[in-house]
């Protein structure tokens, strides 16, 4: 330790500079991410949840409901895939809520916060790991989709755009789940309530059926559901067709979710005890 560093740190052990601390925030986030991903790979139940369940949804909708659902302009598999990707991205965030509630209850978060690491890293590392997990789920679903007849028909760049939009949407929902997990803070309650709100949100939308087939009172909700905007934009990116209003509207919704729920999640994390 140099004399300068000691002086800069005042009377104590040298206070690290802003650059060092910013660097730590990144490495700490990556360390927590690594830890979360290691845990995810070790627990069979998590793998089932992120891989097998979405695949089952694809097969169920294509082969069980698909025959009875008529969609305009394309076959049902092509119609379904963007919807099921958005739905799976949203459902994947259930794991975020569960994991944060568990860590809170077990005292893991407390212990990490008593260490000289960047305090933001616990939340940031959780989001980064869960985003990676979500991306794996999305890619697996696309693979299964290809096996049952789905094809991107609008070029490579829009297809990548669709995956990106689904991921950004998933991260936004992840912030809501992180908030609920930390605010509820009790694993059993999160088990009960963490998924329930995602059902109406994803199913009362254009994800699985054309909205025009719903009763009128439901259409009003479904047309204004953010999931509808996101799925419509994803469909346009995957299959072609008009993209403009849906893409902007979905991005506005996603931005709105971030603006509201990132501060809420951070506040719940700070207050969590």
């Amino acid at each position: 330790m140099t004399a300068v560093a000691e002086l800069a740190g005042g009377s104590g052990a040298a206070e690290p500079g802003l650059r060092t601390r910013a660097g730590w925030a990144i490495t700490d986030t990556l360390t927590i991410t690594r830890r979360n991903l290691l845990v995810w790979m070790r627990v069979p139940a998590y793998l089932v949840f992120t891989v097998i369940q979405p695949v089952m949804f694809v097969l169920l909708f294509v082969y069980v409901f698909g025959g009875a659902i008529k969609v305009p302009g394309t076959n049902y598999v092509n119609f379904l895939m963007p919807g099921i990707i958005a739905q799976s991205a949203a459902f994947a965030t259930f794991g975020t809520a569960i994991a944060l509630a568990q860590e809170l209850k077990k005292g893991v978060i407390d212990r990490l916060r008593s260490m000289p690491m960047a305090r933001s890293a616990v939340l940031a590392g959780r989001l980064v790991a869960d985003t990676g997990r979500m991306l794996v789920t999305i890619l697996i679903i696309i693979g299964v989709g290809y096996a049952v007849g789905f094809r991107f028909s609008n070029g490579v760049v829009p297809a990548i755009g669709m995956v990106l939009l689904a991921t950004v949407f998933g991260v936004a929902i992840c912030c809501i789940s992180a908030y609920t997990g930390l605010a509820i803070g009790d694993e059993e309650s999160v088990q009960a309530f963490g998924l329930i709100w995602l059902f109406p949100l994803t199913f009362l939308s254009s994800a699985f059926v054309p909205i025009a087939t719903m009763p009128g009172w439901l259409q009003a909700f479904a047309y204004h559901n953010p999931v509808t905007y996101v799925v419509n934009a994803m469909r346009a990116l995957a299959l072609g067709g008009p993209l403009e209003p849906d893409l902007w509207q979905s991005l506005v919704w996603i931005a709105g979710i971030f603006i509201v729920f990132v501060p809420l999640a951070v506040r719940a994390y700070r207050r969590a005890s």
């Binding site: 009377s11 104590g12 700490d28 360390t31 290691l38 005292g107 690491m117």
Partner: protein, 351 residues
């Protein structure tokens, strides 16, 4: 490590008038503590006394409402980051990730202390060896016994080589053998010069490990001193015996009531009765034997003993140390504290 943080005479932990409320609940109502460098402070009190709240404030996890607290000269509110670089925290809530191996857990914590990867690896190996976990190092921590998990948890708190270590109820829920193992580890840490603050609801644990003890009840320090000083407060010896026939408990209490200096304490579940007899020692013992015999009450394990910290707690607070707890664990503890004698002498030698 720079020692500029505080002059040599300055205590490692200094707490003045600390208060904290949660709504209507006054968890801390003005606590003062001073822990000299390299000593062990035992913070003793029942569940809900405020011990954990105090530790959470000292480890920067909670902001106090009033008063101030310093660790190694750093204010826990203003210099929280410096405090976190100085301390370690281990406790009942295991910070270990059960799905990971012991080694992975320690390596990840090493990285969070900003050690390089090679340094994090070697530190993990060192600690696994020191805590007798080398053989289990590459097994998932889920398969560790309770004692092993607790040791790993403690090892994790030492990754950053803290000068001050907070142990929040480090042996709660452990079986007796693991508990003795933890005591050995804690003693060797203290012998190595680490300042320790240890909370416990076990009186024998504080007696075994601590240089100084503070007793907290309802958010206030109600007594402080060495174990011997606190025992001196009870003022003399205790006559203790067990009544096998529980129906005769009330008669037994009546029989010894006039011999004792205070109210006899009777435990209906174990049949244990004890009463303080001041300085009258063996005279009181003989008197107790005569009156019990006259009343025709059969007794077991009748004896005169020095007061334990249990007696101190009862004398200070008017209630037993663990009355909030369910009865079975209370019984277990009591049987442990009865065979404490030799261990206590060992502790005196090492400290």
């Amino acid at each position: 490590m720079s020692q500029v943080g505080g002059a040599t005479g300055r205590p490692a932990i200094l707490v003045e008038g600390l208060t904290k409320s949660f709504g209507e609940v006054h968890a801390l109502r003005g606590i003062d503590l001073s822990v000299p460098r390299g000593t062990v402070l035992g913070v003793l009190g029942p569940n809900g006394a405020g011990k954990t709240t105090a530790v959470r404030i000292l480890t920067t996890l909670l902001l106090p409402d009033g008063g101030r607290a310093e660790v190694e000269g750093y204010d826990v509110v203003r210099d929280a980051a410096a405090v976190r670089r100085t301390i370690g925290l281990a406790g009942q809530s295991a910070a270990i990730q059960e799905e990971l191996t012991g080694r992975e857990n320690l390596e990840i914590i090493g990285r969070l202390y900003h050690l390089s990867w090679p340094r994090a690896r070697s530190r993990a190996t060192e600690l696994l060896e020191q805590f007798g976990l080398s053989d289990a190092a590459d097994r998932s921590a889920k398969n560790y016994s309770g004692g092993m998990q607790r040791r790993l948890d403690l090892a994790a708190s030492l990754v950053g080589q803290p000068r001050v270590l907070f142990l929040d109820e480090p042996t709660t829920g452990l079986d007796p053998r693991s508990r003795l193992g933890m005591w050995d580890i804690i003693r060797s840490l203290a012998a190595g010069g680490t300042t320790l603050l240890l909370t416990t609801q076990y009186l024998d644990e504080a007696d075994e490990l601590a240089d100084e003890i503070v007793v907290i009840d309802h958010g206030l320090v109600i007594a402080a001193g060495t174990a011997e000083e606190l025992k001196g407060r009870v003022g003399g010896d205790v006559v203790e015996f067990t009544v096998p026939d529980r129906r005769r408990m009330a008669d037994a209490v009546t029989a010894v009531a006039k011999t004792g200096e205070g109210e006899p304490h009777a435990d209906e579940d174990t049949g244990l009765i004890y009463v303080g007899v001041g300085g009258r020692g063996s005279d009181a013992l003989i008197e107790a034997v005569r009156s019990l015999d006259a009343a025709g009450i059969e007794t077991r394990d009748l004896r005169l003993r020095r007061p334990s910290l249990d007696d101190v707690f009862l004398a200070l607070t008017g209630h037993a140390a663990e009355e909030e707890e369910d009865q079975p664990s209370g019984r277990r503890r009591r049987s442990r504290s009865r065979r404490r004698g030799q261990g206590q002498d060992d502790a005196r030698v090492t400290s």
